[in-house]
Every structure is written in structure tokens, then in C-alpha cells.
């Protein structure tokens, strides 16, 4: 549990006191700040990490007849989102000793029906093959989705995926409560996620059709996956100390690693991998993971 600081509490209370609680300037700032942090241009803040994953596959228009490659380890959330769109999950086997998706793992699972590949950054550890997977996807004309719902603050995440999903759930690096984000390198796909976040409502088409200046059209079946301003205010305030929180996680992970190694329970990934991670847990050889506590 991360105790909030005075400036963080104040940011949320000021937002509530102002009375504007729905999508507004704080959300826009949060989107800009996180896109900048990931090194991408586009981001849409949403109501949860689950919503972020659902929107990613809706944006990609995966559906019946499509396949999406999901790694065997850590891919459960992405797989559930894929199934919600009616597409089929194809599980890619991963190395038990290093359970992150590689280019070879993904390539072995591709078929002519593959529409996307998901690379998961498990337990806050960046998947080293993300850039190679993007190259593979570009060669095949399919999309790469980064499931970074457990990896905000890890080095290099978000740069490879057409779409990248983040979560700000209570036990993650940016503990807002319930919230998430879809970001990415592809303006059109992030734009579509943004549209579906709020009921696929648009003013322009309807305006032209009706000659009205302030009504709207609905151009698809959307959802209410909006974040609200108080949560955006908290996320923005917490973001200022994300580096500090990640550094503390790395310190705690190194200590935990030493402890587990001494007890002969050797975590799979050591200090070299921890140095690039925003670790939530250390995966162990038996398939379980030891939580990193702050």
C-alpha cells in the first residue's frame, strides 16, 4: 500500500471541490504526460486495465474468424479481452526458464487468420523481444499489442506496440484505484479506442446531417469506459514520483532476490533484469511468483 502525500490528496480534493468530475483538462494532461513517458504520441485514459485491453481489441476490430496470439505465461487478461470480441486465442508456448514471448515463439503460432500478437510484460519486467515482435508483425501486416498493465515504469515499454495497455489498479506501480490507459504509436487505432471509450459519440457527422450545431451522432456500438477527473488528478500527481516508486520497487526486488537465492528458491530473473523492470513480483522456477512489497 502506497500512502498518499499531501499534494496528492490536495490534488484530488481540489478537483472534487471544483465540481467538474467528468473528462476534462486533467485527463488531457494525464494522457499527454503518459504518452510522453512512453515515448508515443497518442493515449486515451480509461476506467480500468480490463477496459484498456477490451478497447485495444475492439479498436483492432478482432472478431469471429480472427486469431490473436497470446503468450502462455501472463496472457490471461489479454486472452479474456480477445474472447470478448469473438476472436480465437492462440496460445504461444514460452520458455519455462524465461517466460516472456520471443519472436520465434510468436512466429510458430502465426496462421493466415492471425490478426494480432500480444506481448505481455509480466510482473513489471519488460519483454526484451518487443521490438523484434513489432518487426515480425510489420512483415506480416498484423498488429502488436503490448499488455503493460503490470509494467508502467519498466524501461522501454510502449514503444513497439501499435497499442499498449496500462493499468493503475491498487497493486500496480501507479496505484490510483481503478483506472487504465490505451496508448500507442498508431493514431487511428488509439483514436478508435478513444471513440469507443465514450459511446462512439461524435458531433461532426450528425451536425452535417441535421444542420444542428450542438447535437451529436453515434457511429458505432461503444461503451462507457471513461476515467473521471478526480482519478486523473491523482494519477497526474502520483506520476511525479513514479521514478521514485519504481526505484523503491527495484531496491525491494533486489533484496527479495538475494533472500530467495539464499534460500535456494532462485528467482528466474536476477539483478540485471530487475534493473530494467518496475517489479511487482519475482517469478520463480515452480511457476509461482513472490510479490515485491514496498
Amino acid at each position: 500500500m502506497t500512502a498518499l502525500r499531501e499534494n496528492e490528496i490536495r490534488a484530488v480534493l481540489d478537483c472534487f471541490a471544483g465540481g467538474w468530475l467528468t473528462l476534462g483538462p486533467r485527463t488531457q494532461k494525464l494522457e499527454e504526460a503518459l504518452a510522453g513517458r512512453l515515448g508515443v504520441e497518442h493515449a486515451a485514459a480509461v476506467s480500468s486495465g480490463t477496459a484498456a485491453l477490451h478497447l485495444a481489441f475492439l479498436a483492432l476490430r478482432t472478431g469471429p474468424g480472427d486469431e490473436v496470439v497470446v503468450p502462455a505465461a501472463g496472457g490471461e487478461d489479454a486472452a479474456a479481452a480477445v474472447r470478448r470480441t469473438g476472436a480465437v486465442v492462440v496460445t504461444a508456448a514460452v520458455d519455462a526458464g524465461d517466460p516472456v514471448l520471443t519472436r520465434d515463439d510468436a512466429e510458430a503460432a502465426l496462421t493466415p487468420a492471425t490478426k494480432a500478437v500480444v506481448v505481455v510484460h509480466p510482473h513489471g519486467f519488460p519483454a526484451p523481444a518487443a521490438a523484434g515482435l513489432r518487426a515480425l508483425c510489420d512483415e506480416r501486416g498484423i498488429a502488436l499489442v503490448e499488455d503493460a498493465t503490470r509494467a508502467l515504469g519498466a524501461d522501454g515499454i510502449g514503444r513497439a506496440g501499435h497499442l499498449t495497455c496500462l493499468s493503475f489498479a491498487r497493486d500496480r506501480q501507479l496505484p490510483v484505484g481503478e483506472a487504465g490507459m490505451v496508448a500507442g504509436t498508431d493514431a487511428e487505432l488509439v483514436g478508435r479506442a478513444r471513440l469507443l471509450r465514450s459511446h462512439a459519440m461524435t458531433a461532426s457527422t450528425w451536425d452535417r446531417h441535421r444542420g444542428h450545431s450542438y447535437s451529436y451522432d453515434i457511429v458505432d456500438v461503444g461503451f462507457n469506459y471513461r476515467i473521471d477527473e478526480p482519478r486523473s488528478a491523482l494519477a497526474l500527481a502520483l506520476l511525479e514520483r513514479l521514478d521514485e516508486l519504481v526505484a523503491a520497487r527495484r531496491d525491494a526486488a533486489r533484496a527479495l532476490h538475494a533472500e530467495l537465492a539464499a534460500a535456494g528458491r532462485g528467482p528466474l530473473w536476477g539483478p540485471d533484469r530487475i534493473a530494467a523492470a518496475a517489479p511487482l513480483a519475482l517469478p520463480l522456477a515452480d511457476g509461482s511468483a513472490a510479490p515485491v512489497k514496498l
Partner: protein
């Protein structure tokens, strides 16, 4: 004084924040436990008690609650749900979210913007699984007739009670909204209420699976505001009665529902219908530009949106289209002053006489 569209002198809605609301949020923030927990559970208990219903399942939005209502009524691929078109699109969109298909029925007429039970009955097919009524503006729909109709055909009766936070479910379940501008506001939030143990248990499972939880920060806020809901609704009703008196002799406009119905309504909004649809947009613009009065249009009919025309073709719902072409929603919120109300009525009188 000329006013701009961005900062109207009389806003459509204004959220008044009380110190106890902020204190409730602050307590949760200082506890460090922001996720759904004690506050969410306490709100569920208190809201259920207020409605007099067994179960309340707090979720992230009314759209999420509608999805749970349809899922727990067994709506799936191939199933139809009869809904009004004179509503926010979520009533229909959430049917698609479950794999089903919305079937639109017409409203009763300009005097009652709720579903017409006779038109609902005419649209029942072997594929119909449920009927979802909307309590437009907080005014109860024809629940007794609709419930009887559903019972006779073996259909689930559901309610989109987004506008009616004090109206308990009359059928299997009802979905409530705590969106920012609603009678009971959480910013973003919703709830499914039901008297059915199995529906409640299934709704809670779907909530976890679909990521539809509502955190304790918002729960504490909306819980604090729930304590004032009776006073808020009483103020809304008094203002609505006053609007009706003031508007009675204004030419060119009518007000739906009856004086008696006001006292059964949460009075979420104040709809008026201009006689001449050609005046709807000009009057709205004049209210904004010349009088600083913000208005809204509830609702553009869902069946006319591009996404629905693409899926269902061109449909005709004459009474819905007539109401939508003539409706103007004028400002209403519990702490609205009589002076502001007089200003809205004077503006309408001036512009409709022009």
C-alpha cells in the same frame, strides 16, 4: 448582459459540493485504501435500504449496470430486447454488448415520454427476451402495464432508472446512474438493484470479470451525497411545480406529464416541448446567445444514429421523432434560484413570441 455559450449565466446543471462530501473523500484518501472496499459495500447497503430492495451492486457506470441487467436476464446472441429509442444510447448499446439486438418501441406521446405498452406488445416476437423501460426525466414509465405484459409473455422486465434514483425495481432488476449531472452524482458510476439473489450473485461475478468495479473514493463521495437525496429531490419537485405554473400561460410551448406525476418523479430534468419543431433550434440558440440560458436536447432518437441505421435500417417511430424534434431541456438543479427560473421563463416567453 450578453453571455457566451461557454459560460452561461444560467447553467443547465450545477453540482453543489458540501464540506462533508470532501471530508468523506479525504478520509478514504488518507486511509490509502482507494480500491472498492468498505465504502462501496456501505453504499450498496444504504442504497438498497433506501430503495427497499434486497441487493445493490455498485459498478463503474450505468452503461455497465445495463450490461449486467441484460446478461443476468439471460440476453445473448439471437435474443431481442425491446427498448425505447427516446433515451440515451446506452439503453440500446448494452444489448449489443451482450450479443443481442435492440428492438425499438415508440413512446406514449408528448404528454408522457415513456414507453407505450401497446407498441411494446406489438413488437414482441419469439426471440424477445426482455423489455427495458426508461423513466424519462425521473417520471415513472407505465410499469404496471409493462410488468403485466412481460409476465404474460414470459419476458424479463428491466428498468433503465438512470433518471430515477428513488424508484425501486418493478421487475427483475433496474440500472441506476451516478454520472456527474445526475440527481445522485459520483462523477462516473452506476448500480444494479435487484430482489433476486441469483441475479445479484451473477452480477457481482460479471462486475469482477468485466472490470466494472467502482473505487472507494467515489463510493465515499456518492455515499455522502445520498444522505441529502430526499432534500435534493424535494427541491427539484418544488422548482418543477413552479416551472409548470410559470409556463402555463406561455404561448407556443407545452410541458409533458401532470402536476401529480411531479410528486412521483426525481425531476432529473425539466423538458418542455415547443409547438413548432422549426423553432426548436432557433429558440435554443436565442436562449444561449441573448439570454445566457444553457439548454440541452433530450434525446436525439437512438434509431436515427448512424450506427443504428447501419444495423437496423431506417425505422419509423413517429411519436419519438415528434417529441425529439420539439423538446428543449431547460435548467434545473436543487439550488437553482427563483430569479434564475424567472429568467429562463421570461427568455422562453420572449423568444417564442418573437
Amino acid at each position: 448582459m450578453p453571455a457566451t455559450g461557454t459560460s452561461p449565466s444560467v447553467p443547465l446543471f450545477d453540482l453543489r459540493v458540501e464540506p462533508e462530501d470532501l471530508a468523506a473523500v479525504e478520509r478514504v484518501l488518507r486511509s490509502g485504501r482507494l480500491e472498492a472496499g468498505e465504502e462501496a459495500e456501505a453504499f450498496e447497503r444504504e442504497f438498497a435500504e433506501r430503495l427497499g430492495v434486497r441487493h445493490a451492486v455498485l459498478v463503474s457506470s450505468c452503461t455497465a449496470a445495463l450490461q449486467l441487467a441484460y446478461l443476468t436476464a439471460g440476453v445473448g446472441p439471437g435474443d431481442e430486447v425491446i427498448v425505447p429509442s427516446y433515451t440515451f444510447a446506452a439503453t440500446a448499446a448494452s444489448v449489443y454488448a451482450c450479443g443481442g439486438r435492440p428492438v425499438f418501441a415508440d413512446v406514449a406521446g408528448p404528454h408522457d415520454l415513456g414507453l407505450d405498452p401497446a407498441d411494446v406488445e406489438a413488437r414482441i416476437t419469439p426471440r424477445t427476451k426482455a423489455v427495458c423501460a426508461v423513466h424519462f426525466g425521473g417520471y415513472p414509465a407505465a410499469v404496471d402495464e409493462l410488468r403485466t405484459l412481460c409476465d404474460a409473455h414470459g419476458l424479463a422486465f428491466l428498468e433503465d432508472s438512470a433518471h430515477a434514483p428513488l424508484t425501486p425495481p418493478h421487475g427483475l432488476s433496474a440500472a441506476y446512474s451516478f454520472f456527474s449531472n445526475k440527481v445522485l452524482s459520483a462523477g462516473e458510476g452506476g448500480l444494479l438493484a435487484t430482489g433476486d439473489d441469483a441475479v445479484a450473485a451473477a452480477a457481482r461475478e460479471h462486475r469482477e470479470r468485466l472490470g466494472h468495479r467502482l473505487d472507494d473514493v467515489r463510493a465515499a463521495w456518492v455515499r455522502s451525497r445520498l444522505r441529502r437525496i430526499d432534500a435534493d429531490v424535494a427541491a427539484r419537485r418544488a422548482l418543477t411545480h413552479r416551472y409548470r405554473e410559470l409556463l402555463a400561460d406561455v404561448e407556443g410551448v407545452s410541458v409533458p406529464y401532470t402536476d401529480a406525476a411531479v410528486d412521483t418523479s426525481a425531476c432529473y430534468v425539466m423538458p418542455v416541448l415547443v409547438d413548432d419543431p422549426a423553432r426548436q433550434v432557433p429558440v435554443r440558440e436565442a436562449l444561449r446567445d441573448r439570454h445566457g440560458v444553457q439548454t440541452s436536447l433530450l434525446y436525439p432518437p437512438v434509431h436515427r444514429f448512424t450506427a443504428y441505421v447501419e444495423r437496423l435500417g431506417e425505422l419509423s417511430l413517429p411519436r419519438t421523432e415528434d417529441a425529439a424534434a420539439r423538446e428543449l431541456t431547460v435548467p434545473l438543479f436543487p439550488h437553482m434560484s427563483h430569479a434564475d427560473q424567472d429568467r429562463v421563463v421570461a427568455a422562453l416567453r420572449t423568444e417564442l413570441a418573437a
